[in-house]
Symmetry: C2
Subunit: 221 residues, 2 copies
Amino acid sequence: MSLSEANQDYLKAIYKLRAHGTVTTQALADRLKVAPPSATAMIKKLAALQLVTHTPYYGVQLTQTGEKIALEIIRHHRLVETYLTEVLGLGWDQAHIEAERWEHILSEEVEARMDAALGSPTRDPHGAAIPTLNGEIAVDDWTRLSEVSGGENLIVRRVSDENAELLGHLREIGLVPGAHVAVQRAVGAEGTLHLEIEGQAHVFGIAPARFVYVETLDETL
Amino acid sequence: MSLSEANQDYLKAIYKLRAHGTVTTQALADRLKVAPPSATAMIKKLAALQLVTHTPYYGVQLTQTGEKIALEIIRHHRLVETYLTEVLGLGWDQAHIEAERWEHILSEEVEARMDAALGSPTRDPHGAAIPTLNGEIAVDDWTRLSEVSGGENLIVRRVSDENAELLGHLREIGLVPGAHVAVQRAVGAEGTLHLEIEGQAHVFGIAPARFVYVETLDETL
DNA sequence: CATTGAATTTAGTTGCGGCTAATTTCTTTT
DNA sequence: AAAAGAAATTAGCCGCAACTAAATTCAATG
């Protein structure tokens, strides 16, 4: 029994939205750019397959099986993304778009070959953890750049890959995993962040800063 | 306007069946393993898109546009097949199965990267010509091994890749592009072919021999 | 506590690409 | 030339995954 692409997309979306346990129909519909009734219908199908539990008018939650499948898809996505950038030299944003399609058709065999060719990477190019074959995934406790109150010693650890356009911009200004950042002036009334990226001064919107995760070395000292 | 996978599959099938100009509904249905009415319905859609011309109760034929698209898909298929075997080390049969899925989702960008990584190959691992970006394809005038009346100096040029199981077997016994073959005794009553592959004697069924193309060096002398 | 409003679900439709059963058309045979 | 048989098409249906419009349910507010 194999799942349709739509099924897989929903599971992945639920996984990514599961921050506080339960995912609303609306959030799901928004993320997948479908109308709410479409999400309701799919939720019922996934519930029938025991991949999610659904409490009507409340929300949906992945079962163990559902989460495992979601992690498989995310593993595919991130491995492909890594492969496309590292081996075929695609840009970040391009790689993300491609991976959205590839993740559904990747066989175990090719997955294994790509994994081997890359030396079993644990992070994709944006710094996101790649789940293992067994469905384990590293938990990061990094801070969103938008929530840093100020500090000199930050290292970019991850840039969320949901938005291709944003992704391209971030790469351009050097906001990539490993980059050193210092916040000079925190969020002001205008919603801007004054920061220094590898020595270069930048003014940065608060919105995109929500998708950049940093490790705050100050605190760990 | 982009074509669905089903559309693409039909165009490819029509291209491969177009040997004598026109393709019957039945042949198409058989090849795609669908019922004849399904083929009829799709033919109508493709005709409406001006990708084929349809003469009811007679057959279907690709238009120039249709053929060009078919060749694009075949290019994708053969490039991917080559990439999977040469770069990722997959077996022939496995690569073919994968390529059936990949051909539909390959972007121009990745196509170009794979092509470059392989040095713009003109043949896939089975010896089939890879169409160019412009939709040109080499025409081969090789002979089917099943139609060779006898001869000492044959070189395998191509092994048709339609059947994964057969493909695996052919590779095992060394019947691969470049192999030297000599036919010792042509098709007998039992429908067998006695031949020598790189010095090794083999008895070979007539059926699989239809999918092996050889260059007859005897004649060219 | 009743009402309002937003989120969710139900009801009913659509397009796609399959299917079976029935009909039509062409070809071949008598 | 008529009849039989095979191939193709039409008619009508199904599952999937989307949609809009209408109902329902929950929560929040007066």
